[in-house]
């Protein structure tokens, strides 16, 4: 199936998310859509999959003009999309999710679907247990499930939006080889990413978006320099790591056990000093999430003690931790970090906590300051859910306190492009130099190695390594993360 997009426009008020995009997607090809955050990639793909209506432009599917009003119409043309955040039903099992949305009788034959799922998994190299509830899956496994669902429903055009974010390198290999197999079988595969590496490994052809327009395209073999120039206009330098002088003790976990997450946390004893940047490495949900929440006072340990600045804080709530200078930011921005329905200015107003009656003008000008200094593409009155993922992340970072003792950041650069990552770490570096301890998790080993003074490797709820970046490398860390110490 060949799909041609002609002069696609999508305007949100004054924001031109797509500003006249032309693109041709061919069968048996993996087509990359590359661009930094906010370039308009997700918007374009959501238009193609019927999730968002275009402002103007034409879509041709095998030279027939179509205008999808909803995802179901796109699906009936064989177009399926894996969204940046999976759209599954967490309380149901893998098999039930697989069956949902497929044509079936009132009393479906589960064993039939079970066989179909097992067959697809074998073919694609996926490892999914049909009876596991989806809540217990990792992001990578949920993705495999979504993909299997689309394939079973006969989709021939598969769009994946930032699929390599938050999954392990092992899962990425599995995913990529499955996508290659699908494409050589005649499917049209579209990979949306802001990561050069993904596109260079997998794609046959790539179109680069910048500020809602096509800034260039290329076919294999790619020149990295040329792609970077299309993305940014110039090549960005890699982020720098400045060694910090460790100061007084900021955090001390003493034999901590805690429930939560996929694995919980067991037998955790760690000291972190002020001025230190500590990276938490590991597959997503290997205990880093619980670690950060225990250190923030959001999860109470079942055993062990938590000290902040040498004060025993065990059993105290998050507010007590906050007054000790601890700040936490979760990875799930819209689910846990920001308040959907409130504007940027209203978020600022909550933080001010001044008089009983609100001064919306003052909050708006304060919001404007934050927006400017953190380069958030938004207006003070924009509701936070209207911002793109990268902008939501920048906004969250703008809410960090001025003079913290301990910053706990869960995947702080998730979904940001290279330049934004570098920019964020310059900011955080400055905060660390001012004497704050920073503990962050990330699924990017390179990032951890580049910015950390120390790396803790998590595996199945335990810290199995505590190393300095100069004593290790990406390969060793990768092995440790996968449990092959």
């Amino acid at each position: 199936m060949t799909i041609a997009l002609r002069s696609i426009h999508k305007h949100y008020g004054d924001i031109r998310a797509n500003d006249g995009i032309d693109l041709v997607l061919r069968p048996s090809t993996v087509h990359g859509i590359l661009g930094e955050n906010g370039a308009g990639k997700s918007t374009l793909m959501k238009i193609l999959s019927g999730y968002v209506r275009k402002t103007s432009g034409t879509i041709l599917v095998d030279s027939e003009e179509v205008d999808f009003k909803n995802p179901a119409e796109a699906a009936s043309h064989g177009i399926g999309m894996l969204y940046q955040d999976p759209l599954d039903f967490p309380p149901l099992t893998v098999l039930e999710n697989f069956m949902a949305g497929q044509r079936m009788k009132a009393w479906p034959d589960r064993s039939l679907f079970r066989k179909r799922l097992a067959g697809l998994c074998r073919e694609m190299g996926f490892d999914l247990d049909p009876e596991t509830p989806v809540v217990r899956l990792t992001v990578g496994e949920r993705q495999q499930l979504e993909l299997a669902r689309h394939l079973a429903a006969g989709r021939r055009v598969l769009i994946l939006d930032e699929p390599t974010t938050g999954i392990s390198s092992l899962q990425k290999d599995v995913l990529f080889s499955a996508l290659r197999r699908l494409s050589s079988g005649g499917a049209t595969v579209v990979l949306v990413s802001h990561k050069l590496e993904d596109v260079e490994t997998l794609c046959d052809e790539v179109t680069v978006l910048k500020k809602g327009r096509v800034s260039g395209s290329a076919v294999r073999p790619f020149s990295t320099g040329a792609l970077l120039e299309m993305m940014f206009g110039r090549e960005p330098a890699p982020p720098l790591r400045k060694g910090h002088e460790p100061g007084a003790q900021a955090l001390f976990l003493e034999g901590v056990h805690a429930h939560g997450g996929r694995t919980g946390l067991a037998q955790c004893t760690v000291k972190v000093n002020r001025g230190e940047v500590v990276g938490l490495a590991g597959l997503e949900g290997s205990g880093q999430d619980v670690f950060l929440r225990v250190a923030a006072g959001l999860t109470r340990p079942t055993r062990g003690r938590v000290h902040v600045s040498r004060k025993d804080m065990t059993g105290r709530d998050h507010h007590a931790f906050k007054t000790m200078g601890v700040a936490f930011q979760p990875a799930a921005r819209l689910e846990e970090g920001l308040i959907a329905g409130l504007s940027v200015a209203e978020h600022c107003a909550i933080l001010e906590r001044s008089s009983f009656s609100l001064d919306l003008d003052a909050s708006a000008s304060l919001a404007q300051e934050r927006i400017q200094s953190f380069q958030v593409a938004a207006r003070p009155e924009s509701p936070v859910e209207s911002l793109s993922g990268g902008n939501q992340q920048r906004l969250l970072l703008s809410f960090l306190p001025d003079d913290p003792v301990l910053l706990l950041l869960e995947n702080p650069t998730r979904g940001l492009d290279r330049e934004s990552v570098r920019w964020v770490w310059e900011r955080l570096d400055a905060i660390a130099s001012n004497g704050a301890a920073i503990v962050f998790s990330s699924s990017e080993i390179d990032e951890i190695l580049m910015v950390s003074d120390r790396v803790l490797v998590f595996f199945e709820g335990r810290i199995i390594h505590d190393v300095r970046p100069e004593d290790t490398d990406a390969l060793m860390l990768g092995k440790a993360i996968a449990g092959r110490v």
Binding site: T55, P330, E346, A349, L360, F399
Partner: protein, 359 residues
């Protein structure tokens, strides 16, 4: 107070655009409801046009009918204002019905204790305050059941509604029964000096009306222009994130419950002191539950709620005539109100969905 109104101007202006879009939506829902109600009437074998005529004339046809509508409007609006606080905080305060009843009980208690003293005005004022406190305390029970014991507020509220209805009956037939006989007609009527003063001809209390109007304005101000309103919306929007922003969701929810209970209690207090002048078994007249529908139909908008409440009050009042004039049951007003809310919710969700796909 001038700055207060200046600040309120902005949400009003911002609200204007949404209000215009809202008007189209309301028109659509009204059409759906009229069509549906007509269908129900046809099935029931009633002449639709005559029925609508009876409803309009029975509610707006004369000054005394209008004053009856306003008497229904007052408690309905008070309870609706209260519910706005809890809805904004993401709470389903089903217990509002019981909060109205407990307000009535507390007011009755205060009036009985105060008695017809020379300071009757004072007793009445204190009795109203007692009513608010009674409703608020009852709401606090539901709030604590939720925040301390983890019982969902819907179940807590529902349970407490049964308890309060039981309590009202027990008081009427037990400790507070009329001398000699216990009767469904309620407790002994209060001394006339304790009644809220009312305009004789219309049997309408300007003080109660004034306080209901004030409640709407104060609610609008609190919700749109104060930290309390912002915190309620923050906790209702995302409890987890609110914690990270330094809020205490349980405290905010408790505050919402107190406001809701206080206003519902005031509604009950007016029922006792201004309408029935005694405690009767059906003292709440179901206005708590009806207020839930009002707020849903008003789509949580402070300014729309009193309008919807007025409309519902007209329906309730007009329907009283139905059995006499058309030998239709007056429960028809309930059918109209219920289908109205369902239609409005349906129209609203259809329009948001199409708005979202249009971006």
């Amino acid at each position: 107070m001038r700055t207060v109104f200046a600040r309120m101007g902005r949400p009003l202006e911002m609200g204007l655009k949404t209000a215009l879009a809202g008007v189209a939506e309301i028109a659509a829902s009204v059409l759906v409801v009229v069509a549906f109600t007509t269908l129900v009437l046809l099935v029931a074998g009633a002449p639709p046009l005559d029925t609508f005529a009876v409803l309009v004339k029975g509610s707006l046809g004369s000054w005394s009918k209008l004053s009856h509508v306003i008497k229904v409007w007052i408690p309905l609006t008070l309870a609706s204002c209260g519910l706005l606080f809890t809805f904004k905080a993401g709470l389903w305060n089903i217990g509002v019905e019981g909060q109205v009843m407990m307000g009535a009980v507390a007011t009755t208690l205060a009036m009985r204790m105060g008695g017809p003293s020379p300071l009757a005005g004072m007793v009445t004022a204190l009795a109203l305050v007692a009513g608010m406190a009674g409703g608020a305390l009852w709401a606090l029970c539901a709030g604590f059941l939720k925040t301390k014991a983890g019982v969902h507020e819907i179940f807590a509220g529902l349970g407490l509604n049964f308890v309060s209805q039981g309590l009202v009956l027990w008081l009427i037939f037990g400790p507070w029964k009329q001398p000699g006989i216990a009767s469904m007609s309620g407790t002994e009527t209060f001394d006339e000096r304790l009644w809220i003063p009312s305009i004789e001809a219309l049997n309408l209390s300007p003080a109660a009306l004034g306080m209901a109007v004030a409640a709407v304005i104060v609610t609008a101000y609190l919700l749109s222009s104060t930290r309390l309103g912002l915190y309620l919306r923050a906790v209702g929007g995302n409890e987890k994130a609110a914690v990270l922003f330094g809020l205490k969701p349980h405290a905010v929810m408790t505050a919402a419950m107190l406001c809701a209970g206080g206003l519902a209690g005031l509604a009950g207090a007016f029922q006792v002191s201004g309408v029935y002048h005694r405690l009767i078994p059906a003292i709440s007249s179901g206005y708590g539950y009806l207020a839930l529908l009002v707020v849903l139909l008003a789509y949580y908008n402070v300014w729309a709620a009193p309008v919807v409440a007025f409309f519902f009050a007209c329906l309730n009042t007009g329907a009283i005539q139905l059995p006499m004039l058309l030998s239709l049951d007056s429960s028809l007003s309930g059918v109209i109100q219920g289908s109205m809310v369902i239609a409005a919710l349906a129209v609203h969700s259809v329009s948001t969905r199409s708005r979202r796909s249009r971006g």
